[in-house]
Amino acid sequence: MSHVIPSHLHDHEVILDVRDLRVAYGKVEALHGVSLSIRRGEIATVIGPNGAGKTTLLSALMGLLPASGEIVYMGHAQGREREVEALVRQGMTLVPEKRELFAEMSVEDNLLLGAFDRYRTGHRDHLETLDEVFEWFPRLEERRGQLAGTLSGGERQMLAMGRALMAKPKLLMLDEPSLGLAPLIIKEIFRIIGELKKTGVAILLVEQNARAALQIADVGYVLETGEVTLSGPSGELAADPRVVEAYLGFGKKH
């Protein structure tokens, strides 16, 4: 399936363009030629069942796994040697499925470390960024002195996202932000993700919760057993009978 991009977004800058991405664990190939593209201020979502390779896709994009294929980020073709730290410096951040927080550190220290690379490269605006993150997540400000390990699931997700925003990313990749959270909190998190795109950040959202993801996304990709089987503007995808049957299931029970 080719990747379809809505024409009204053509004046936006392409942040990430991936073609024919392949990732293998040993001899077993987990992603077979995935292509996708995201523009500035756009939310792209990748939906699909468990084990389809969604987390593998994000890990490969972030440089945590070796991959082959063509990855063009911010107009620059990426070489084979992609290092996580170099990508962080170029404004790519990942909020992993496991959150990977620093459990024995305070909420505030976790957030400040999100700005570590900016601090290292001479940007000393982390306190202002901290205030901005507290505006997005007022809950984190209330808990700023608390250890990250003692937070509830929803607060942890907020902290992981807040920490990623501290890096002032150009591309924010979210892996299953709704995982294990209560419905009300999922709603709140998705509301914030929807608003974040106004800041101009490109968001790549990987979700099992297809309904919520397609509601806020501009474009969607359906990933099944390592391949993109459907793609298109999220409104069209949400209306596609195949998606409805497999992922949204209006009224139909399997």
Partner: protein, 346 residues
Amino acid sequence: MDLQIFLLLGQDGVTNGAIYALLALALVLIFAVTRIIFIPQGEFVAYGALTLASLQAGKIPGTVWLLLALGLVVIVLDGVQMLREGRYGKLPSLLIFNLGWPLLCAAVLFALPPGDLPLALQVLLSLLLVVPMGPMVYRVAYQPLAGASVLVLLIVSVAVHVAMIGLGLLFFGAEGSRTPAFTEVSFELAGAPLQGQTLLVVAASAALIAGLYFFFERTLYGKALRATAMNRTGARLMGIAPTLAGKLCFTLAAAIGVFSGILIAPITTIYYDSGFLIGLKGFVGAIIGGLASYPVAALGALLVGLLESYSSFWASAYKEVIVFTMIIPVLLWRSLTTRHVEEEEE
């Protein structure tokens, strides 16, 4: 044993314990961040003390050649990689740190007669000569194997230790050295003399521990090191590279080692291989802290110092045996009280 001897021995024990505590902290730091059991920690103590002794004897310490050689190896290793990847922007800082710095140190040594320099400058020069070897050793010996198991890293540590001992013998010879005391001041406490040098060691150790506490609790780089120790993947996602963390903590550990060596050089005669035993006693302290807890490691090291001091009075032939036997009940107690956690494979 009367009160006077008791106090004298206690004084000795606290002095040595303070040094062991510093080394224990360095060992815990390196293990927490890189999973390396850093056996050559003690060699930095000996190198520091003997470099200072060479300077005071008016000789050019051999460590300057090692610094130059290590710097060149690092330049070859990193430079080739940088050229291949086309990252020319990083070359100047690589050359400055690994070639410019050692050459500057060598130039200073040859331009000024080291024996005539004031003590403070000699101390500073020793630190400047030996501390940069910490990150260089990390780059040359450990960085290519950063993902290896604890056992492989331990084997590398043994190799680095043996190499550094051999080089120490080459540079400083087989004779021991002792530097003059920093201070001749002496007080009297309950009838026992209290050496100014003892107070200096304890005060300097306490100041260094306070400084480390400040670094880890208040600065972003310190927090980045703690973050790496807690969650390596999380730290990488923040742009904290494991190699940066490794070099940073090796620099700290080398600085702690050299500083300790300079502190004890006036108290004990240091030979090229004395560092090993000193480092090992710091290691006993670190084990008491489970290679994880800084305060318990420091207290454990203090206990090692006191135990060593009192056992040298009652059973001096067995003092090392007594100190190292202490590990057995500690390990027994730890293995009985701690739940076994599978080490996370990376």
